[in-house]
């Protein structure tokens, strides 16, 4: 039962990154890719009806994590206190940036919220990547099952780790580049003209960086946490995951210049999904590794009581079906290239 919930939470996080990832990425390139007010409004229109729903996946994943693995939620949220609070601030600023911009038709007002929106998107992408890096690297948990990490210490892998060290900064950069490319594919899919062309060009520029970073993080991760290979040795089927990562990378490179926007976006989504699944597969059944392995938090020592997990499964499936229904409905409603004439962002 706990294993099932592990994969449910992992799937929810992957869904979040794929969905909110494109609007974060669109935000990250917003200032340089969308130059005129008209183009900026089209980018905002492309994400306007969906960004809030996408973000709910984060809240829902957090809530589900809380309910299924309360001890993990308690340890990780208090341990990552400062970065999480900064993430919350960025989410607040970003939401306000997107929605308040259109309320007043004044250059300065709009410029101000453009910068808020874009900078908070960039920082969020980096923070999410660094958070994942922290989980892979392990945190200084002790026998009480708690830890507290400052934002940074020496940027080396000392026993006193900080949120940011060379490895987690690297994963932060990987996340930023990945989401920038993902956002570009989405903008290319949803807009045409100069804006769409520019987005495709940026995605093309991202590709070699993404390719290089994918392999360097793989090497770095092996160096930092060799244990992550155990599951891959035990279950050979897991080797399909890196294969799919490579395939989706190749697909992006192929589809983008040909103007197959939908395919390129799907390939990028697959790339993100398999990168995350690869991490989850490598960690399982550990959910938060400790620097000292005897204090690892696993699905077994963090899960809620069995009855709660069983009851939860019933309503969760019901709610998830409804949620997917709303998403299909909304994305259909606002499908196709963005046209500015109807309604407002």
């Amino acid at each position: 039962m706990a294993s099932l919930w592990f994969w449910i939470v992992a799937a929810m996080i992957a869904t979040y990154v794929v969905l909110d990832g494109f609007d974060l990425g669109a935000g990250a390139i917003y200032l340089i890719a969308a130059k005129t007010n008209d183009e900026r409004r089209r980018v905002l229109r492309a994400i306007g009806p969906v960004w809030d729903g996408n973000e709910v996946w984060l809240i829902a994943a957090g809530g589900t994590l809380y309910f299924a693995f309360p001890r993990l939620y308690a340890s990780s949220f208090s341990g990552f206190y400062l970065p999480l609070m900064i993430v919350v601030w960025l989410l607040i600023l970003r939401g306000v940036g997107i929605e308040f911009r259109s309320h007043i038709d004044h250059r300065l007002w709009q410029d101000f919220f453009d910068v808020i929106f874009s900078v908070s998107s960039i920082l969020l992408a980096i923070f999410f990547g660094a958070a994942l890096g922290n989980v892979v690297r392990g945190v200084p948990l002790d026998a009480t099952g708690y830890f507290f990490e400052p934002l940074w210490t020496s940027f080396k892998l000392s026993p006193h780790t900080g949120i940011l060290d060379w490895y987690t900064v690297l994963t932060g950069v990987v996340a930023l580049v990945t989401l920038v490319a993902h956002g570009c594919y989405y903008v290319a899919l949803k807009t045409d003209g100069d804006l769409g062309r520019r987005a495709r060009g940026f995605a093309l520029l991202c590709w070699p960086v993404q390719f290089f970073l994918t392999f360097s993080t793989l090497v770095a991760t092996y160096f930092i946490r060799p244990e992550i290979m155990h599951n891959y040795d035990r279950y050979k089927i897991g080797l399909l995951i890196p294969l799919m990562v490579v395939v989706s990378l190749a697909l992006m490179l192929w589809a983008n210049p040909k103007g197959k926007e939908k395919l390129a976006f799907v390939a990028s989504s697959l790339y993100i999904t398999f990168m995350l699944v690869g991490v989850a597969f490598g960690l399982y059944p550990v959910v938060l590794p400790a620097r000292d392995p005897q204090y690892d938090l696993t699905i077994y020592n963090t899960a809620a009581g069995l009855h709660g997990l069983k009851v939860g499964l019933v309503w969760w499936i019901f709610a998830a079906v409804l949620a997917i229904g709303y998403f299909i409905f909304v994305y259909r409603m606002f499908s196709g290239k963005v046209q500015l004439e109807e309604g407002h962002p």
Partner: protein, 452 residues
């Protein structure tokens, strides 16, 4: 008190109080918009549709602020109250996860459709979108109340081998008897806020002689709905909530009422200052035997005072609890009075020209916010010194490894950000109110694109 504990308490109290300024209007307006749209559809009256559209714009700004200030709430259970989360997460994690899975997804999908999709769908479909937004926001409220109810009156759990609480009965937990009345009481409070805001804006237009047709609709609907909500607020919901506190948290009742010595025929203190050192109320203005009547329905019933309970179980901040409760009740009584007089004038067809009453309605806008905040302070201060009533003390629940310094850093950060949000929100709301409900404003993005 441990300084880290104090910081974590203020952290949650501040972010929760600020957050709840928005959902109370969201939930109240959601109902009122459904009312406006229903009448608009039935009578095919464009004024009602324009009224609904105007309040939709207000709703949109308010909803966004509710969403962004709500995100920190879910994080803080873990960041600031990790020991509590580890202890009770196996139970309350259920309702918190259900809130996002059932309510947030519904709202996020339908609010966009409701706000921006009116031209894309039929009037009937748009009515359904409004109903869905209403249902989502009210559902969300229930899950939060059910979570709080568990902290007030834990049911449906068992204690696991590691000492944590785990779910034993889903239905007992979800339909906690405490939650029923608290929910009804809370939702009446939200509708009161919505109705007072609608009435206040209507009164503002009437007094300034602008948008008179719409203003009459605002005042009429606001007063009718507001009157009903205010009455239900006191009876039966407030009354039943009070009886629950009497039965299940008697020490809280004693502290709320400032009853230091238990006695038969206990008086109800209307005004007075609790004097903890001498164990009495200074300058009391009391109604004799009234408290006994209200709590036990007998004039001479014995009401237990604070002296009947060990000192370590008294709520920590008795004066603040006492004042919160008295402010809530005082304002609730004032609301009934003002809405009853308005309803009477409305019935006699005199309200729209009674300038003194319109002034009063205009100026009453802030009070429901104060009353709702005071009500929540009564509930949560009254729960002290417990975090989960009778099971875990507040002092044991916070994140022990998050120092006072780190806590204060983020508390100050939130204060700064929320101040900016508050100013921006008021500014944008004022612009919408000033612009008024008539005809569509040429929206920013409908204008020809300006090149940068």
């Amino acid at each position: 008190m441990d300084s880290a504990l104090l910081i974590h308490r203020i952290h949650f109290a501040f972010t929760a109080s600020f957050h709840y300024l928005f959902p109370q209007l969201t939930m109240g307006l959601a109902l009122l918009i459904v009312v406006l749209k229903t009448i608009g559809l039935r009578r095919n009256d464009p004024v009602y549709h324009e009224a609904a559209r105007f309040w939709g714009k207000i709703f949109g700004i308010n909803f966004l602020l509710g969403v962004v200030t709500g995100i920190p709430m879910e994080f803080q259970f873990g960041t600031n109250w990790s020991h509590f989360s580890r202890y009770a997460g196996g139970v309350i994690g259920q309702t918190l996860a259900m809130e996002s899975m059932f309510a947030f997804f519904l709202e996020s999908a339908l609010v966009g459709l409701f706000l921006f999709g009116e031209k894309r769908i039929s009037p009937r479909a748009h009515w359904w979108a409004a109903v869905a937004v209403f249902a989502g926001s009210w559902l969300s409220g229930y899950f939060i109340i059910a979570t709080d109810a568990f902290m007030q009156y834990p049911v449906g759990y068992y204690t696991a081998a590691d000492g944590s609480l785990q779910l034993a009965s889903f239905w007992a937990f979800l339909f906690n008897p405490w939650a029923r009345w608290q929910y009804a009481h809370n939702m009446c409070g939200a509708v009161t806020t919505g109705a007072f805001i609608m009435t206040s804006v209507g009164a503002f237009y009437l007094l300034s002689g602008k948008f008179v047709d719409h203003a009459r609709v605002f005042v009429k609907i606001g007063v009718v709905v507001g009157f009903i909500a205010c009455v239900l607020q006191i009876f039966p919901t407030g009354d039943q909530q009070g009886k629950m506190v009497t039965d299940l948290q008697p020490v809280t009742l004693a502290a709320m009422e400032g009853l230091f010595q238990g006695q038969p025929g206990a008086p109800l203190v209307i005004v007075g200052q609790p004097n903890e050192r001498e164990g009495k109320i200074d300058n009391p203005l009391e109604v004799p035997s009234m408290l006994s009547m209200l709590t036990y329905r007998r004039w001479n019933a014995n009401v237990r005072g604070l002296d009947a309970f060990p000192r370590e179980d008294w709520p920590g901040n008795i004066p603040l609890l006492y004042y919160s409760y008295h402010i809530m009740v005082g304002l609730g009584t004032f609301f009934i009075a003002i809405m009853a007089i308005s309803a009477l004038l409305l019935w006699k067809n005199k309200l729209y020209s009674a300038r003194w009453m319109l002034w009063l309605l205009l100026l009453s806008a802030p009070f429901p916010y104060i009353a709702n905040t005071a009500g929540w302070m009564t509930a949560e201060l009254g729960r002290q010194p417990w975090l989960v009533y009778g099971l875990m003390r507040t002092a044991d629940g916070y994140s022990k490894l998050v120092s006072a310094g780190n806590g204060m850093f983020t508390l100050l950060g939130f204060m700064g950000i929320y101040m900016v949000l508050g100013i921006l929100g008021l500014f944008l709301l004022w612009r919408e109110i000033e612009h008024g409900p008539e005809s569509e404003r040429p929206l920013a993005d409908l204008k020809p694109a300006e090149a940068l």
